[in-house]
Amino acid sequence: MLITLKLFGIYQKYLPQGAQGSSIVLEVSKSIQVSGVISMVKLPADEQYVVLVNGIGADLDQRLLSGDVVAVFQSIAGGSTGIPSSPNREI
């Protein structure tokens, strides 16, 4: 099935060849999860992803349907990832 993948900001450079601007149409296997698409394009694994499917927040294990638009960008804060480390707390 076909889905559209959009990568914003620093992730845009991971778009495969043939992308137009920040988006590309990809052929993927049926009921693939968001995480499957992310590994297809080899986004760095240690990042804090924010994922939208058709503009609505989604988790990495969400299964996709034909025609879905998946957008991925990096969460922001203090440089980037948004999760502060604290000397007193396990994170």
Partner: protein, 610 residues
């Protein structure tokens, strides 16, 4: 000198007298400093009902206890006064190097009172302060004025100055510092212009030493390690500044487009951070002590009509001069940004006011006899022309200079003005980010993301993801972010590190780091609890300033469009803001009555006495 200077400078412009006042900062620690101390002064010294452009209004430049301290982003100041745009509070924030210089000169605050009989500027070299004539500078655009001022004072000095927009009392004129940085919102520049004060030039040579240098240094290392680890992995702010955001908000369907008639913009790819980076980006422009360096040094070489160079754009400008006015030509948006900076004007209000005029015209509410030209979305040259006219109040520009609410009201259609408390909404259509809707509506400074940016979780998933379309939990979120921003602002830090300092993964506020930083910098004894309380105290005192001049629930509102017209398309399709319900919940959480007035009990708990 530790984090606090314990000294302020008071300049009476009417009489030309200059005083310094000294105090024990520990006596004022309940309000932290900066923004907190400024609102204390306004409340204590000024009738909140004064005409904002009269000599009775006071204009305060406030640094925080961490301004000038070597901690990430310790470089901010606030300009605090009564707003001529909203008649509510103005507190505009900016960073760069000027604030640090002011602190190094030995002052926590500058207070300007009265009105100079003729244009003046103030020249501060540590303890030496003088008022000088600025008649030769009146009318000069920001970069020219700054160059001249540095030439006649000290090339190492730092400058905050108004442009022609401030001189012409444009209701959303900015105070510009370090040429390209802007304390932009709700008319601080017009107040400065009304006082005939062209500029503040400062040279400060006293280092700002923390009370406990070694402890601060260790904590600083820890924070820096976190931030640089982020940056090494790749950071949007570092690589794009805030210019990657249009694509994000467009994907959520909340990128204000055609005067907030929709939240989806077809031209979004053409105004993206990627295009900026490839075509116009020159150099990252960090503020003092900032490892993030989100500032964008940019240049447009061609076409000739958009030629220029400077700093910017920020996301807000891409959204409010770009998509809101229907512009998809990035070079034109950059030119508009340069013009606003040179003329000293807020890009958000400028853009949204032009968009309002276009919609009024298209609906036949505004006749061509008044505008002089056909107004249409997407017309770059028209936007540039209107920006120039607005700053000088030329022709139709005179009406635009009043802001969109007064413009739309003049044509008897105030519902076309996308404002709250007459202040233009920034680049997030709140129908698709309900927490922000509540923040815009209840803000003490009118619609502003800087009042408490719940878009962090609602839009950016930081430090966790909050569903932008639900109202559930949003009253709590709004309060949390408003109080947190009050702390960050009062300290003199930038909100881009706010999350890094302030939250933990369990979504709870974690003010421990701020408390530690403050204690090491100032030698005080803040705890997680007292720092949190201070944020709430500051926010409530600001609310009282409004209440004392008649503001209440009736003013905590949003444009009719946000409340009744469903978003026409995109992921937020059909959404409106359920404001009344949110207000009830928010007031209750804040300990305010149903009319939005802080209760005696709440004030007592916070130790606020008027």
């Amino acid at each position: 000198m530790s984090g606090w200077c314990g000294k302020l400078l008071r300049v009476n412009l009417t009489s030309g007298t200059i005083f310094t006042e000294e105090y024990d900062p520990l006596q004022k620690k309940a309000y932290i400093g900066g923004r907190g101390w400024a609102i204390q002064i306004l409340n204590d010294e000024m009738d909140p009902r004064v005409d904002p452009l009269s000599p009775e209004n006071k204009l305060i430049f406030a640094t925080g206890p961490l301004t000038g301290i070597r901690v990430p982003t310790g470089n901010r100041y606030m300009v605090v006064t009564k707003s001529p745009l909203s008649n509510a509070l103005c507190r505009s924030n900016s960073g760069g190097f000027f604030p640090v210089e002011l602190k190094r000169a030995g002052y926590d605050l500058l207070i300007f009172e009265g009105r100079a009989p003729k244009p003046v500027y103030v020249w501060i070299y540590d303890d030496r302060v003088e008022l000088r004539s600025a008649e030769h500078l009146w009318g000069k655009i920001v970069p020219e004025a700054e160059e001249l001022l540095l030439g006649e004072t000290d090339p190492k000095a730092r400058v905050a100055v108004i442009g022609p927009a401030g001189e012409h009392l444009v209701k959303f004129a900015a105070v510009m510092n370090d040429k390209h940085r802007s304390a932009a919102r709700s008319g601080v520049g017009a107040v400065m212009g009304s006082k005939n004060l062209k500029a503040i030039v400062v040279r400060g040579t006293k280092p700002v030493e923390p009370a406990f240098g070694e402890l601060l240094q260790n904590l600083n290392k820890e924070v820096m390690t976190d931030i640089t680890t982020d940056i090494k992995k790749g950071s949007n702010l570092r690589n794009y500044g805030t210019t990657y955001i249009p694509q994000v908000t467009n994907e959520l369907g909340i990128l204000p487009t055609y005067n907030f008639q929709t939240g989806v913009f077809q031209g979004v790819e053409r105004i993206s951070g990627q295009v900026l980076k490839e075509r116009y980006f020159k150099k990252a422009k960090p503020c003092f002590g900032c490892p993030i360096a989100c500032g964008r040094g940019t240049e447009v070489e061609d076409p000739a009509e958009f030629q220029g160079e400077g700093e910017g754009p920020e996301y807000e400008t891409l959204a409010t001069i770009g998509s809101t006015c229907g512009l998809d030509n990035l070079a034109a948006i950059l030119k508009a940004n340069y013009l606003c900076n040179e003329l000293g004007m807020d890009t958000i209000s400028a853009g949204v006011t032009i968009a309002c005029a276009i919609e009024l015209y298209q609906r036949d509410y505004l006749p061509i006899e008044d505008s002089g030209i056909e107004l249409k979305f997407g017309d770059s040259l028209m936007v540039l022309d209107l920006i120039r006219k607005m700053a000088y109040r030329e022709g139709f520009g005179n009406q635009l200079a009043e802001g969109s609410y007064r413009l739309a009201s003049y044509y008897q259609h105030p519902e076309i003005s996308m404002t709250s408390k007459m202040v233009e909404m920034p680049g997030y259509d709140p129908r698709g980010a309900k927490g922000l809707g509540l923040v815009y509506a209840t803000s003490n400074m009118g619609a502003s993301h800087m009042n408490g940016h719940t878009g962090y979780p609602e839009v950016f998933g930081a430090p966790y993801r909050a569903d932008p379309l639900t109202t559930e939990g949003k009253a709590q979120l709004a309060k949390q972010f408003e109080d947190m921003f009050a702390v960050i602002d009062s300290c003199g830090l930038c909100v881009f590190v706010a999350v890094r300092y302030m939250f933990d993964r369990s979504k709870e506020l974690l003010p421990a780091r701020i408390a530690q930083l403050l204690n090491y910098a100032t030698g005080s004894d803040y705890s997680e609890e007292t720092i949190h309380e201070a944020g709430e105290r500051i926010y409530n005192l600001e609310r009282l300033f409004l209440v004392r001049s008649g503001f209440s629930r009736k003013n905590d509102t949003l444009p009719e469009r946000m409340l009744t017209e469903g978003m026409p398309e995109g992921p937020a399709k059909g959404q409106v803001i359920e404001l009344e319900q949110l207000l009830d919940e928010f007031y209750q959480l804040r300990g305010w009555d149903a009319n939005g007035i802080p209760t005696e009990e709440k004030l007592q708990l916070l130790g606020i006495t008027i």
